[in-house]
Symmetry: D2
Subunit: 136 residues, 4 copies
Amino acid sequence: MYQNEVQIRVRYAETDQMGYVYYGNFAAYYEVARTEAFRSLGINYKEMEKEGVMMPVLEMRTKYMRPARYDDLLTIKMMLKNKPSGARILFEYEVYNEARQLLNIGETTMVFVDMQTSRPIAIPDYIINKLESYYH
Amino acid sequence: MYQNEVQIRVRYAETDQMGYVYYGNFAAYYEVARTEAFRSLGINYKEMEKEGVMMPVLEMRTKYMRPARYDDLLTIKMMLKNKPSGARILFEYEVYNEARQLLNIGETTMVFVDMQTSRPIAIPDYIINKLESYYH
Amino acid sequence: MYQNEVQIRVRYAETDQMGYVYYGNFAAYYEVARTEAFRSLGINYKEMEKEGVMMPVLEMRTKYMRPARYDDLLTIKMMLKNKPSGARILFEYEVYNEARQLLNIGETTMVFVDMQTSRPIAIPDYIINKLESYYH
Amino acid sequence: MYQNEVQIRVRYAETDQMGYVYYGNFAAYYEVARTEAFRSLGINYKEMEKEGVMMPVLEMRTKYMRPARYDDLLTIKMMLKNKPSGARILFEYEVYNEARQLLNIGETTMVFVDMQTSRPIAIPDYIINKLESYYH
């Protein structure tokens, strides 16, 4: 499978009065993990949108095991466990703190959409090609 | 079951460059729905925290069916389908636009926690009492 | 002058670990105040953008006098002290809590921009006309 | 004077439907610049709060010259132009894109506060000492 890790430092802005990262903010962490995973594969999500393909979210699931806190240096691990095909792609995530404790797991199902027609389309070939070698 | 509805006007701040409400922002909409549902029952979440009980999120699931857009007047319907017991409580949500199209469904599982011990505790009696009449 | 007030309930999402509304979140409160002030004048900002005119921010100033807190029901007062002319418009804001204590004052300078040319344009006539009667 | 630079990659979450970084999000970028500038001086803001001193914002000013966009790799330059003294500290910021175009300038005035008394206090000596060598 393909996997990649990024590090994110928790901002004060992302905490809430409980002293934890607000639960809605993990969605943005997952987004950073996706963008950087794509970049590490040589895929630029920004360019993909300029070429008329976007990738909105169909579904998100998150489990919160331990709180993330201000100034934590988080590691977001992103996994594409199965080779994508069709119009959908399932990203899975694990969030760790510096002590490598698992704080959070999540998944997002995204769909490739033609921005002209607003219709789902098959995952672009150049993305499949970049991923090919990670699956047997 | 107990259910309640609140209305939220989508802010420009909540949109992204796709022209949709950013997928992570529904977590805050769900939070508003919970807070206002509690208020309509005569429960003040802020006071609950002052009395030493907080309610962090254990799990969230969201399905995005149709995009929400800037200035949409959304209705967030919140349901407690089963009478809560033990330390956990399951909130379910439906998000509608003004044309009463279903945009989004979600659920969050929260846990009651004693802020002194950081341990789960049974849902406070005064909350159970407020909810009692909605379940047979 | 023209002035208008809106009420905003502080969300948990908007607090930080200091227990205050995060300082960057007042920008969104000001935005809500602008949108609703426009609506009360019969101007729909969303429609304005559809007709090709947007109103990005050139400058913002904020003074934080007292903290806003979770669940506070804030009043955001918005004032157009001078009749707008040219391409720019100065909005001034005051934020009060329920005890009518002044928490925050701010101002934003916005510019009307033609979305086709990305150039500043004079404030549209229909906006001037709506405002006319408030200035002598 | 003391100055420091950090890089921030713009997240999708931070854009709005204009395709720009939402104007309120620069406050969080400034916060990151402050935190990292402190860290480069050997000062940990998180520890400072644990020791009972916090640094809320009194005033913010921002000028928006050019839009920041999704996936831009921004450089946030932070400057302490004058040696801090008393209870207040003035941070100035410049935000550049990868082409080193100036997008945004800003400043924040913060105040050191004793978290026990909620009263302003003089800037802690260990911070003055770290900064000493940058001013003559």
